[in-house]
């Protein structure tokens, strides 16, 4: 950490938490766990690369929480690694239906419990605040309440979204069950080595999730000097004290986008979704884009340098301008990681 202004140099810093992606998956994931992705909607900032590593290490029977489906869940579902999912939205926005997820749901290999884009963050907020339940003014009176894929016999279901009496008015109101995932793998634009993070673009539900999850691993496109966080403390919505580990993995959301960093890879979004429509296509995809790299450098080679340059020439690049001077070069990140991973 070379560039911290002198005025900060005396401040005590917690230890660096940089570790490799394989190490993060080894340490913090297991079969059958409640795994949450911290993403910004289906085509935005999501640690898709974390899902690839889950598959590389053969994790299975995952009970997943995806506020919105992304290519990560599409892939986990296509391979059969996710057997349960709780989602607010399960498509790929303008890229259409998520074929891997669709195949898994239609065949019964993955039970998909439907919520909405507000009820998932409300449930996370309930988990974060350790509330017994969260009052529900949405999802009630529809089949989101009455139908449960996890308890098909319960109809009209009151085990999924229950009803309680409002003590002040006597009215019946809905009640959501809080969520406390075992792990949240949260994609962020930048983090310092200790785990303070800044997200550019919508944070979607990453704030609530970072407090609801029992453990948080950040996957960052860039590692910055802690001085950056001291310059913009109001923007640090995920502070290091809730973070277990930081993984540096540029283009970790690929083929999705990361505002300020890179655009969505339209061609690969389509090709990937087309591949996941069949078991054969999925196997081929896994061979080519999940098993085929070994570390960050070969991952970037796999995508292609020319393509990366094109994706990085995003119209949102100016969003990074205020932070650029604090971005640490890869060699320095590697040096810090060598120290913290061993610790």
């Amino acid at each position: 950490m070379t560039s911290a202004p002198a005025i900060h140099s005396d401040a005590a810093m917690p230890p660096a938490k940089l570790i490799s992606l394989p190490e993060a998956v080894r340490r913090y994931t297991w079969d059958g766990m409640l795994y949450a992705s911290g993403a910004a909607l289906p085509i935005g900032s999501d640690a898709v690369v974390f899902g690839r590593e889950l598959l590389r290490q053969g994790r299975k029977d995952l009970h997943t929480v995806f506020h919105c489906n992304s290519q990560q869940l599409n892939l986990l579902a296509a391979v059969g690694a996710a057997t349960k999912a709780e989602c607010g939205f399960s498509g790929l926005e303008v890229f259409g239906f998520a074929n891997g997820l669709r195949r898994a749901v239609e065949s019964g290999r993955m039970a998909l419990e439907d919520y909405s884009n507000l009820s998932i963050p409300l449930r996370l907020l309930g988990g974060a605040l350790n509330w017994p339940f969260v009052p529900a003014t949405v999802n009630i009176g529809s089949d989101l309440q009455d139908r449960s894929a996890f308890a098909p016999e319960d109809y009209p279901s009151r085990g999924k979204i229950g009803m309680v009496t409002d003590p002040f008015t006597g009215q019946q109101v809905g009640a959501f069950k809080p969520l406390k995932p075992d792990l949240a793998a949260i994609h962020v634009t930048m983090a310092d080595p200790t785990g303070n993070a800044i997200m550019l673009g919508t944070e979607w539900s990453r704030f609530e999730l970072s407090r609801a999850a029992k453990r948080v691993v950040l996957i960052a496109d860039a590692i910055v000097d802690p001085a950056c966080m001291r310059q913009f403390p109001n923007l640090v919505r995920i502070p290091e004290m809730v973070v277990e580990a930081v993984v540096y993995w540029p283009h970790g959301a690929w083929p999705q986008s990361s505002p300020g960093m890179y655009d969505v890879d339209e061609e690969h979004m389509r090709a990937m979704n087309a591949a996941l429509a069949t078991a054969e296509g999925t196997a081929e995809y896994v061979a080519k884009f999940v098993s085929a790299y070994d570390g960050v450098e070969s991952y970037l080679e796999m995508i292609g340098r020319e393509r990366l340059a094109k994706l990085s020439a995003t119209a949102t690049a100016f969003l990074m301008d205020p932070y650029r001077k604090w971005v640490l070069p890869a060699e320095e990140v590697a040096k810090i990681q060598a120290g913290s991973q061993a610790a």
């Binding site: 989602c87 963050p121 003014t137 119209a315």
Partner: protein, 270 residues
């Protein structure tokens, strides 16, 4: 489905474009509005470009003060909608503080299926009714997303959907987003903050709810369609409102404004 209507109009336009313009006409200047991804976003930002410059537009990701740059965004958090935002917050903020609170004036949602009381299914297609035990859909769709929250909380909302018999059904198999449920005052029983759907805008015309029964009736047809065509493409016995009329074709200014927003021609390709 959306062949250009070159024979009828000097400025050829597609059915999708007519649907987007008719939807945009429902948005009033100064309103707090929430747009979903795809067609509804184009309709909303068309309104802003044409007649509602002070519409306060947001997406459910909590992206405020922005408009699409470089064409139809791939998603509501896409970089194409993130290049000129003045505030980025969260879903809890946009769908919660601004919609579930009752502040939002108008939302626009899409539908795979819609029924005569404006209930929307975007979750799945089943062969027949689901029955007492939940079972797998034949075809899994996208789920509710933010549409359920908009349907529950926005003061009013608009439904955009291609007009085909398979989509306009007597009763949707699965209610993903509530319209007027069984009709009448059914919404009041659940205490929804929002008022319900004010119009269904289709590729053929516009349907509006009867003030008492809340059953949707034909309110208008487009220059290239007719009440007969619309009734024939609706699987329930669609009533025609006594005040139903032909809806104005897009003006050259409307077409120009829409195509400025729809830079990549998404509405012309379909």
């Amino acid at each position: 489905m959306s062949k250009p209507q070159a024979g009828k109009e000097p400025d050829a336009y597609t059915r999708q474009e007519m649907m987007a313009i008719a939807t945009g006409r429902e948005i009033r200047d100064g309103e707090l509005a929430i747009f979903g991804v795809g067609l509804s976003m184009l309709a909303g930002f068309f309104a802003q470009a044409h007649h509602a410059p002070h519409v306060r537009a947001m997406t459910e990701g909590g992206v405020y003060g922005s408009s699409p740059v470089g064409g139809l965004p791939w998603g509501i958090e896409c970089n194409r909608i993130s290049t000129n935002a003045t505030s980025f917050t969260s879903a809890l903020d946009a769908l919660g503080c601004l919609v579930a609170s009752g502040r939002c004036d108008v939302g626009i949602i899409g539908a795979a299926q819609v029924d005569k009381f404006g209930n929307v299914n975007t979750t799945g297609i089943w062969d027949g009714e689901i029955g007492d035990t939940y079972r797998l859909p034949k075809t899994r769709l996208t789920g509710a997303g933010g549409a359920n929250d908009i349907a529950c909380g926005a003061k009013r909302y608009l439904i955009m959907v291609a007009h085909e018999p398979k989509r306009f059904v007597e009763k949707v198999t699965y209610v993903s987003s509530p319209g007027y449920l069984d009709g009448g005052d059914a919404r009041a029983r659940h205490g929804f903050v929002g008022g319900g759907p004010s119009a269904i805008i289709t590729t053929l015309g516009v349907l509006r709810p009867h003030p008492e029964t809340k059953e949707f009736e034909l309110a208008g047809w487009f220059p290239f369609s007719s009440p007969e065509e619309i009734v024939a493409n609706t699987a329930w016995a669609l009533k025609v409102s006594p005040s139903a009329h032909v809806i104005d074709a897009p003006s050259p200014a409307e077409i120009a404004a829409l195509r400025k927003v729809d830079e990549t021609g998404a509405l012309r390709k379909r």
